[in-house]
Symmetry: C2
Subunit: 148 residues, 2 copies
Amino acid sequence: MKIGELANRSGLTPSRIRFYERIGLLKAVDRKANGYRSYPAEAVTILGLIALAQGAGFSLDEIRALLPADLEHWEHDALAGALTRKVADIETLQARLARSKAHLLHVIDEIEARPDDIDCATNARRVLTRLLGEDAEMPVASLRAKQF
Amino acid sequence: MKIGELANRSGLTPSRIRFYERIGLLKAVDRKANGYRSYPAEAVTILGLIALAQGAGFSLDEIRALLPADLEHWEHDALAGALTRKVADIETLQARLARSKAHLLHVIDEIEARPDDIDCATNARRVLTRLLGEDAEMPVASLRAKQF
DNA sequence: CCTGACATTCAAGTTAACTTTAAGGTCAAG
DNA sequence: CTTGACCTTAAAGTTAACTTGAATGTCAGG
């Protein structure tokens, strides 16, 4: 199978597949006489797995550390541990998101529920004072460091 | 107030504050005779708001579009709309995370609950087959495009 | 007067995960 | 024999949000 067909079957682009090879996530495959890469059918499965793991929040580095050379020879304990830790990561993120959401809803409430008898500027001051006095959270965005 | 003091009070670094000015998130402030930036007390509030918004998942671009020149003159409707949309974004992410988590737990189950009478390789094939046959999700990581 | 803690600017580096571009081979079909 | 769809490589570009580095200026204290 040439790289274009593999790309079609796996849903990844050729450039992405070559990139994975370059960074050592995929081992270099055989070449035909003309230099074209020639993939075994198994490659579709491997790429599918990579995409799946990415979808679950694993970074390419993490995936590289877990993907066995032989698809039937997983490092059971490392894999189970990584999966469990990833679940914990997700739970952390869920908790953080819940707090962000609650916070946002609270702010929406504050700005919508302005008493009729005070003007916008006064209300703005009131909202601002409350907002900055409350909890200062860690940025949700900082989670990108952990692949979310 | 010089930039160092503002940095201390706001918890941001001086380089970050200069960066915000460079990209137009903060308007340029007055300079002392020696060229040093001189900030009004209000700047602490503004930086606090920026950090707060970032914590809630807003990108700097979004924040720039929402932050009024005058802190007491918010564009009420734009702000309320943006907050509401951000809550919706968070809900989308929550749903996605829930699915990822369920998926991971399912995989952990599959690899742990291997029947005693089949070997690792066979189990690996069984797990792989199920895994790749199921749903292929969008990567959680793709949410970074929306600031999470 | 010197030292050290500040301040300034501009350019370049960082991270992840790719894509894009450029310049060029290969090959089946018409 | 030429077109067009593929394939190859290496290098550079992308995005967000900063940081780091280099070269230099300012200023209060001892």
